[in-house]
Protein backbone atom coordinates (compact mmCIF):
# COMPACT_ATOMS: atom_id res chain seq x y z
CA UNK A 1 0.00 0.00 0.00
CA UNK A 2 2.77 2.36 1.03
CA UNK A 3 4.78 1.33 -1.96
CA UNK A 4 1.86 2.05 -4.26
CA UNK A 5 1.36 5.45 -2.64
CA UNK A 6 5.04 6.31 -3.14
CA UNK A 7 4.87 5.23 -6.74
CA UNK A 8 1.74 7.32 -7.31
CA UNK A 9 3.39 10.32 -5.67
CA UNK A 10 6.45 9.92 -7.89
CA UNK A 11 4.20 9.72 -10.91
CA UNK A 12 2.28 12.86 -9.90
CA UNK A 13 5.54 14.71 -9.18
CA UNK A 14 6.90 13.75 -12.58
CA UNK A 15 3.72 14.97 -14.27
CA UNK A 16 3.89 18.26 -12.35
CA UNK A 17 7.56 18.77 -13.21
CA UNK A 18 6.97 17.96 -16.85
CA UNK A 19 3.99 20.30 -16.92
CA UNK A 20 6.00 23.06 -15.28
CA UNK A 21 8.71 22.58 -17.87
CA UNK A 22 6.28 22.36 -20.75
CA UNK A 23 4.34 25.57 -19.98
CA UNK A 24 7.19 28.02 -20.58
CA UNK A 25 8.31 26.06 -23.63
CA UNK A 26 4.83 26.16 -25.15
CA UNK A 27 4.56 29.81 -24.24
CA UNK A 28 7.93 30.55 -25.86
CA UNK A 29 6.93 28.79 -29.06
CA UNK A 30 3.63 30.61 -29.13
CA UNK A 31 5.43 33.93 -28.74
CA UNK A 32 7.83 33.14 -31.55
CA UNK A 33 4.94 32.16 -33.75
CA UNK A 34 3.17 35.39 -32.90
CA UNK A 35 6.23 37.53 -33.44
CA UNK A 36 7.07 36.11 -36.84
CA UNK A 37 4.07 34.58 -38.47
CA UNK A 38 6.06 34.37 -41.72
CA UNK A 39 7.81 31.30 -40.29
CA UNK A 40 4.57 29.38 -40.19
CA UNK A 41 5.00 26.61 -42.65
CA UNK A 42 1.59 25.10 -42.75
CA UNK A 43 -1.13 27.55 -43.63
CA UNK A 44 -4.76 26.91 -44.06
CA UNK A 45 -7.24 29.06 -45.99
CA UNK A 46 -7.66 31.36 -43.00
CA UNK A 47 -3.93 31.91 -42.66
CA UNK A 48 -3.55 32.75 -46.37
CA UNK A 49 -6.34 35.27 -45.99
CA UNK A 50 -4.63 36.92 -43.02
CA UNK A 51 -1.28 37.01 -44.86
CA UNK A 52 -2.74 38.69 -47.95
CA UNK A 53 -4.59 41.31 -45.93
CA UNK A 54 -1.49 41.96 -43.86
CA UNK A 55 0.59 42.60 -47.01
CA UNK A 56 -1.99 45.00 -48.37
CA UNK A 57 -2.17 46.79 -45.02
CA UNK A 58 1.64 47.09 -45.01
CA UNK A 59 1.50 48.50 -48.53
CA UNK A 60 -1.06 51.11 -47.54
CA UNK A 61 0.96 52.02 -44.43
CA UNK A 62 4.10 52.48 -46.56
CA UNK A 63 2.18 54.76 -48.92
CA UNK A 64 0.74 56.80 -46.07
CA UNK A 65 4.21 57.08 -44.54
CA UNK A 66 5.49 58.27 -47.94
CA UNK A 67 8.08 55.52 -48.00
CA UNK A 68 8.40 54.26 -51.59
CA UNK A 69 11.22 51.86 -50.69
CA UNK A 70 9.09 50.05 -48.13
CA UNK A 71 6.19 49.90 -50.56
CA UNK A 72 8.42 48.62 -53.38
CA UNK A 73 9.81 45.89 -51.13
CA UNK A 74 6.30 44.40 -50.99
CA UNK A 75 6.22 43.73 -54.75
CA UNK A 76 7.51 40.50 -56.18
CA UNK A 77 9.88 40.33 -59.14
CA UNK A 78 7.94 40.74 -62.35
CA UNK A 79 5.03 42.41 -60.58
CA UNK A 80 2.57 44.41 -62.65
CA UNK A 81 0.84 47.59 -61.50
CA UNK A 82 -2.13 49.01 -63.37
CA UNK A 83 -3.10 52.53 -62.32
CA UNK A 84 -6.12 52.73 -64.59
CA UNK A 85 -7.29 56.15 -63.38
CA UNK A 86 -3.80 57.64 -63.59
CA UNK A 87 -3.88 58.52 -59.90
CA UNK A 88 -0.12 58.91 -59.75
CA UNK A 89 0.40 61.17 -62.72
CA UNK A 90 -2.65 63.07 -63.63
CA UNK A 91 -1.07 64.88 -66.53
CA UNK A 92 2.33 65.41 -68.03
CA UNK A 93 4.35 63.80 -70.80
CA UNK A 94 6.05 61.03 -68.80
CA UNK A 95 2.71 59.41 -68.11
CA UNK A 96 1.09 59.85 -71.47
CA UNK A 97 -0.41 56.53 -72.36
CA UNK A 98 1.31 54.74 -69.51
CA UNK A 99 -1.08 53.35 -67.00
CA UNK A 100 0.59 49.97 -66.63
CA UNK A 101 3.96 49.59 -64.94
CA UNK A 102 5.78 46.33 -65.47
CA UNK A 103 9.38 46.76 -64.36
CA UNK A 104 10.82 47.51 -60.93
CA UNK A 105 12.10 50.86 -62.20
CA UNK A 106 8.66 51.76 -63.52
CA UNK A 107 6.93 50.68 -60.31
CA UNK A 108 9.43 52.67 -58.26
CA UNK A 109 8.74 55.70 -60.47
CA UNK A 110 5.03 55.20 -59.98
CA UNK A 111 5.41 54.97 -56.20
CA UNK A 112 7.68 58.02 -56.08
CA UNK A 113 5.16 59.94 -58.14
CA UNK A 114 2.41 58.98 -55.69
CA UNK A 115 4.57 60.20 -52.82
CA UNK A 116 5.25 63.45 -54.68
CA UNK A 117 1.52 63.85 -55.01
CA UNK A 118 1.21 63.52 -51.22
CA UNK A 119 -0.86 60.35 -51.37
CA UNK A 120 -3.00 59.24 -48.44
CA UNK A 121 -5.12 56.10 -48.60
CA UNK A 122 -7.71 54.70 -46.24
CA UNK A 123 -9.52 51.39 -46.55
CA UNK A 124 -13.25 51.51 -46.51
CA UNK A 125 -15.39 48.44 -46.17
CA UNK A 126 -13.96 44.97 -45.93
CA UNK A 127 -11.24 43.11 -47.73
CA UNK A 128 -12.60 40.38 -49.93
CA UNK A 129 -10.23 37.45 -50.31
CA UNK A 130 -10.57 34.69 -52.88
CA UNK A 131 -7.53 32.41 -52.81
CA UNK A 132 -4.62 34.78 -53.56
CA UNK A 133 -6.87 37.58 -54.86
CA UNK A 134 -7.69 40.47 -52.59
CA UNK A 135 -10.17 43.16 -53.54
CA UNK A 136 -10.94 46.19 -51.46
CA UNK A 137 -12.27 49.72 -51.63
CA UNK A 138 -10.27 52.68 -50.47
CA UNK A 139 -10.34 56.42 -50.21
CA UNK A 140 -7.53 58.10 -52.14
CA UNK A 141 -6.27 61.63 -51.65
CA UNK A 142 -3.55 63.23 -53.78
CA UNK A 143 -2.57 66.88 -54.15
CA UNK A 144 -4.41 67.13 -57.43
CA UNK A 145 -7.67 66.03 -55.82
CA UNK A 146 -7.07 68.47 -52.97
CA UNK A 147 -6.49 71.27 -55.46
CA UNK A 148 -9.64 70.39 -57.34
CA UNK A 149 -11.48 70.19 -54.03
CA UNK A 150 -12.73 66.64 -54.63
CA UNK A 151 -10.57 64.76 -52.13
CA UNK A 152 -10.93 62.03 -51.08
CA UNK A 153 -12.08 59.95 -54.03
CA UNK A 154 -13.12 56.34 -53.81
CA UNK A 155 -11.12 53.72 -55.69
CA UNK A 156 -11.44 49.99 -56.21
CA UNK A 157 -8.31 47.91 -55.89
CA UNK A 158 -7.47 44.35 -56.69
CA UNK A 159 -4.26 42.56 -55.85
CA UNK A 160 -2.79 39.12 -56.20
CA UNK A 161 -0.63 38.28 -53.19
CA UNK A 162 1.65 35.28 -53.24
CA UNK A 163 4.35 34.38 -50.72
CA UNK A 164 4.00 37.66 -48.91
CA UNK A 165 4.55 39.65 -52.08
CA UNK A 166 2.21 41.54 -54.35
CA UNK A 167 2.27 39.93 -57.76
CA UNK A 168 -0.16 42.29 -59.39
CA UNK A 169 -2.04 45.39 -58.35
CA UNK A 170 -4.85 47.08 -60.23
CA UNK A 171 -6.35 50.29 -58.96
CA UNK A 172 -8.97 52.55 -60.48
CA UNK A 173 -11.42 55.18 -59.31
CA UNK A 174 -14.99 54.01 -59.05
CA UNK A 175 -17.59 55.27 -61.49
CA UNK A 176 -18.93 58.01 -59.27
CA UNK A 177 -15.49 59.35 -58.40
CA UNK A 178 -14.42 59.28 -62.05
CA UNK A 179 -17.47 61.38 -62.89
CA UNK A 180 -16.81 63.73 -59.98
CA UNK A 181 -13.20 64.20 -61.11
CA UNK A 182 -14.19 64.85 -64.72
CA UNK A 183 -16.70 67.47 -63.60
CA UNK A 184 -14.08 69.10 -61.36
CA UNK A 185 -11.66 69.26 -64.28
CA UNK A 186 -14.30 70.81 -66.49
CA UNK A 187 -15.13 73.41 -63.84
CA UNK A 188 -11.43 74.01 -63.18
CA UNK A 189 -10.73 74.64 -66.86
CA UNK A 190 -13.73 76.85 -67.18
CA UNK A 191 -12.81 79.01 -64.18
CA UNK A 192 -9.77 80.82 -65.63
CA UNK A 193 -11.21 81.05 -69.08
CA UNK A 194 -14.81 81.82 -68.29
CA UNK A 195 -13.76 85.45 -68.64
CA UNK A 196 -12.35 84.59 -72.05
CA UNK A 197 -15.63 83.09 -73.13
CA UNK A 198 -17.57 86.20 -72.30
CA UNK A 199 -16.36 89.72 -72.83
CA UNK A 200 -13.03 91.28 -72.02
CA UNK A 201 -10.95 88.11 -72.16
CA UNK A 202 -12.37 87.15 -75.52
CA UNK A 203 -11.50 90.63 -76.79
CA UNK A 204 -7.94 90.29 -75.52
CA UNK A 205 -7.56 86.91 -77.20
CA UNK A 206 -8.96 88.32 -80.43
CA UNK A 207 -6.49 91.20 -80.27
CA UNK A 208 -3.73 88.70 -79.65
CA UNK A 209 -4.66 86.99 -82.91
CA UNK A 210 -5.18 90.24 -84.82
CA UNK A 211 -1.76 91.71 -83.92
CA UNK A 212 0.39 88.83 -85.20
CA UNK A 213 -2.03 88.39 -88.11
CA UNK A 214 -1.55 92.04 -89.07
CA UNK A 215 2.19 91.69 -88.53
CA UNK A 216 2.35 88.72 -90.90
CA UNK A 217 0.35 90.61 -93.51
CA UNK A 218 2.54 93.67 -93.01
CA UNK A 219 5.72 91.65 -93.42
CA UNK A 220 4.47 90.02 -96.61
CA UNK A 221 3.61 93.48 -98.03
CA UNK A 222 6.83 95.16 -96.93
CA UNK A 223 8.96 92.25 -98.07
CA UNK A 224 8.59 93.32 -101.70
CA UNK A 225 9.61 96.89 -100.86
CA UNK A 226 12.78 95.59 -99.27
CA UNK A 227 13.60 93.19 -102.06
CA UNK A 228 16.18 95.63 -103.39
CA UNK A 229 17.94 96.06 -100.05
CA UNK A 230 20.66 93.42 -99.97
CA UNK A 231 20.65 91.04 -97.05
CA UNK A 232 17.39 92.27 -95.56
CA UNK A 233 15.15 89.51 -96.84
CA UNK A 234 16.51 86.85 -94.52
CA UNK A 235 16.03 88.63 -91.18
CA UNK A 236 12.63 89.77 -92.36
CA UNK A 237 11.63 86.17 -93.10
CA UNK A 238 12.91 85.14 -89.66
CA UNK A 239 10.80 87.89 -88.11
CA UNK A 240 7.85 86.57 -90.09
CA UNK A 241 8.48 83.08 -88.71
CA UNK A 242 8.67 84.53 -85.19
CA UNK A 243 5.40 86.37 -85.60
CA UNK A 244 3.72 83.27 -87.06
CA UNK A 245 4.92 81.31 -84.00
CA UNK A 246 3.47 84.01 -81.79
CA UNK A 247 0.17 83.74 -83.64
CA UNK A 248 0.15 79.96 -83.08
CA UNK A 249 0.97 80.48 -79.39
CA UNK A 250 -2.02 82.80 -78.95
CA UNK A 251 -4.17 80.39 -80.95
CA UNK A 252 -3.16 77.61 -78.55
CA UNK A 253 -4.31 79.77 -75.62
CA UNK A 254 -7.73 79.86 -77.26
CA UNK A 255 -7.70 76.12 -77.94
CA UNK A 256 -6.65 75.38 -74.36
CA UNK A 257 -9.56 77.41 -73.10
CA UNK A 258 -12.13 75.60 -75.18
CA UNK A 259 -10.85 72.04 -75.52
CA UNK A 260 -10.98 69.99 -72.34
CA UNK A 261 -7.43 68.73 -72.68
CA UNK A 262 -5.08 68.27 -69.74
CA UNK A 263 -3.23 71.60 -69.36
CA UNK A 264 0.23 70.15 -69.92
CA UNK A 265 -0.59 68.27 -73.13
CA UNK A 266 -1.28 71.49 -75.02
CA UNK A 267 0.80 73.54 -72.61
CA UNK A 268 4.07 71.94 -73.66
CA UNK A 269 3.28 72.66 -77.33
CA UNK A 270 2.48 76.25 -76.42
CA UNK A 271 5.76 76.59 -74.53
CA UNK A 272 7.68 75.12 -77.46
CA UNK A 273 6.06 77.60 -79.80
CA UNK A 274 6.90 80.50 -77.48
CA UNK A 275 10.49 79.26 -77.26
CA UNK A 276 10.63 79.08 -81.07
CA UNK A 277 9.31 82.63 -81.23
CA UNK A 278 12.12 83.78 -78.95
CA UNK A 279 14.66 81.95 -81.08
CA UNK A 280 13.35 83.44 -84.33
CA UNK A 281 13.38 86.93 -82.88
CA UNK A 282 16.92 86.51 -81.65
CA UNK A 283 18.11 85.18 -85.03
CA UNK A 284 16.26 87.95 -86.89
CA UNK A 285 17.75 90.64 -84.70
CA UNK A 286 21.29 89.34 -85.06
CA UNK A 287 20.95 89.31 -88.86
CA UNK A 288 19.13 92.64 -88.92
CA UNK A 289 21.84 94.31 -86.90
CA UNK A 290 24.44 92.98 -89.31
CA UNK A 291 22.51 94.26 -92.33
CA UNK A 292 21.78 97.56 -90.64
CA UNK A 293 25.39 98.25 -89.81
CA UNK A 294 26.46 97.31 -93.33
CA UNK A 295 23.67 99.16 -95.18
CA UNK A 296 24.41 102.77 -94.03
CA UNK A 297 28.07 102.38 -94.90
CA UNK A 298 27.11 101.18 -98.36
Amino acid sequence: MRKRLRSALRYVTLVIVLTLLAVPLISAFTQIAEQSPRTVKIRGQGQVREDAISVIADFDSALNAHNPDAALALFSNGAVVSDLSNIACLWGPPCWGQLVFTTTVQIRGWLEQLVKEGIQVKEIGNYRVMAANVTWDLQVTVDEYRRLDVAPLVANAQAVVQDWKIKSLTISLDQESTKKLALAYAAHLQTPYSILASGVGFGILLLGLVFPGAAVYYISRVKDLFATVPGLKRPWILLQAGVISLFIAVLLVGIRSTVRAPPSSLGIIQYMVVVLTGFFFLAAMVLMKRVWLVAPND
Partner: protein, 103 residues
Protein backbone atom coordinates in the same frame (compact mmCIF):
# COMPACT_ATOMS: atom_id res chain seq x y z
CA UNK B 1 3.45 69.47 -61.25
CA UNK B 2 6.01 70.22 -63.90
CA UNK B 3 7.54 67.46 -65.97
CA UNK B 4 11.18 67.18 -67.00
CA UNK B 5 10.31 67.93 -70.63
CA UNK B 6 8.37 71.02 -69.71
CA UNK B 7 11.14 72.13 -67.40
CA UNK B 8 13.71 71.70 -70.20
CA UNK B 9 11.61 73.59 -72.74
CA UNK B 10 10.90 76.46 -70.36
CA UNK B 11 14.55 76.71 -69.31
CA UNK B 12 15.61 76.80 -72.96
CA UNK B 13 13.01 79.47 -73.71
CA UNK B 14 14.11 81.63 -70.81
CA UNK B 15 17.77 81.25 -71.81
CA UNK B 16 17.07 82.29 -75.40
CA UNK B 17 15.08 85.30 -74.26
CA UNK B 18 17.74 86.36 -71.73
CA UNK B 19 20.32 86.09 -74.53
CA UNK B 20 18.09 88.23 -76.76
CA UNK B 21 17.74 90.89 -74.07
CA UNK B 22 21.48 90.90 -73.48
CA UNK B 23 22.04 91.23 -77.23
CA UNK B 24 19.57 94.11 -77.55
CA UNK B 25 21.13 96.02 -74.67
CA UNK B 26 24.60 95.59 -76.18
CA UNK B 27 23.57 96.51 -79.71
CA UNK B 28 21.51 99.51 -78.62
CA UNK B 29 24.61 101.56 -77.84
CA UNK B 30 26.01 100.76 -81.30
CA UNK B 31 22.83 102.15 -82.86
CA UNK B 32 22.81 105.34 -80.83
CA UNK B 33 24.31 107.24 -83.74
CA UNK B 34 21.74 106.01 -86.27
CA UNK B 35 18.81 108.45 -86.22
CA UNK B 36 15.36 107.13 -85.27
CA UNK B 37 16.57 103.58 -84.86
CA UNK B 38 16.53 103.52 -81.10
CA UNK B 39 12.74 103.55 -80.87
CA UNK B 40 11.97 100.37 -82.84
CA UNK B 41 14.85 98.68 -81.09
CA UNK B 42 13.37 99.66 -77.73
CA UNK B 43 9.98 98.36 -78.84
CA UNK B 44 11.61 95.11 -79.82
CA UNK B 45 13.20 94.96 -76.40
CA UNK B 46 9.81 95.58 -74.83
CA UNK B 47 8.30 92.75 -76.90
CA UNK B 48 11.02 90.31 -75.92
CA UNK B 49 10.74 91.29 -72.23
CA UNK B 50 7.00 90.63 -72.40
CA UNK B 51 7.60 87.29 -74.12
CA UNK B 52 10.03 86.42 -71.34
CA UNK B 53 7.50 87.46 -68.70
CA UNK B 54 4.67 85.47 -70.31
CA UNK B 55 6.81 82.31 -70.43
CA UNK B 56 7.87 82.84 -66.83
CA UNK B 57 4.29 83.35 -65.70
CA UNK B 58 3.13 80.26 -67.60
CA UNK B 59 5.90 78.17 -66.05
CA UNK B 60 5.13 79.42 -62.55
CA UNK B 61 1.39 78.86 -62.94
CA UNK B 62 1.87 75.32 -64.26
CA UNK B 63 4.54 74.30 -61.80
CA UNK B 64 2.60 75.52 -58.79
CA UNK B 65 -0.77 74.50 -60.16
CA UNK B 66 -2.00 78.09 -60.12
CA UNK B 67 -3.53 77.97 -63.58
CA UNK B 68 -6.98 78.47 -62.18
CA UNK B 69 -6.04 81.74 -60.54
CA UNK B 70 -4.97 85.05 -61.90
CA UNK B 71 -1.66 83.94 -63.43
CA UNK B 72 -3.12 82.13 -66.44
CA UNK B 73 -4.99 85.14 -67.87
CA UNK B 74 -2.04 87.42 -66.96
CA UNK B 75 0.28 85.21 -69.04
CA UNK B 76 -2.12 85.38 -71.96
CA UNK B 77 -2.39 89.17 -71.76
CA UNK B 78 1.41 89.39 -71.72
CA UNK B 79 1.55 87.23 -74.86
CA UNK B 80 -0.95 89.51 -76.60
CA UNK B 81 1.06 92.58 -75.57
CA UNK B 82 4.17 90.93 -77.00
CA UNK B 83 2.47 90.63 -80.37
CA UNK B 84 1.45 94.29 -80.18
CA UNK B 85 4.97 95.49 -79.36
CA UNK B 86 6.56 93.40 -82.11
CA UNK B 87 4.08 94.71 -84.67
CA UNK B 88 4.68 98.27 -83.54
CA UNK B 89 8.46 97.76 -83.66
CA UNK B 90 8.23 96.45 -87.20
CA UNK B 91 6.12 99.35 -88.42
CA UNK B 92 8.52 101.91 -86.98
CA UNK B 93 11.51 99.95 -88.21
CA UNK B 94 10.19 99.85 -91.72
CA UNK B 95 9.58 103.60 -91.57
CA UNK B 96 13.13 104.26 -90.37
CA UNK B 97 14.56 101.94 -92.97
CA UNK B 98 12.70 103.42 -95.89
CA UNK B 99 13.60 106.93 -94.75
CA UNK B 100 17.25 106.04 -94.39
CA UNK B 101 17.14 104.36 -97.81
CA UNK B 102 15.62 107.42 -99.45
CA UNK B 103 18.13 109.65 -97.63
Amino acid sequence: MISAYLYGVVTLGLLILILTLFYISRVRSLFAAVPRLERPWLLFEGGVILLFASLLVAAISDSFGLNSGLLGPVGNVLLVLTAFFILWAMVTMKRVWTISESD
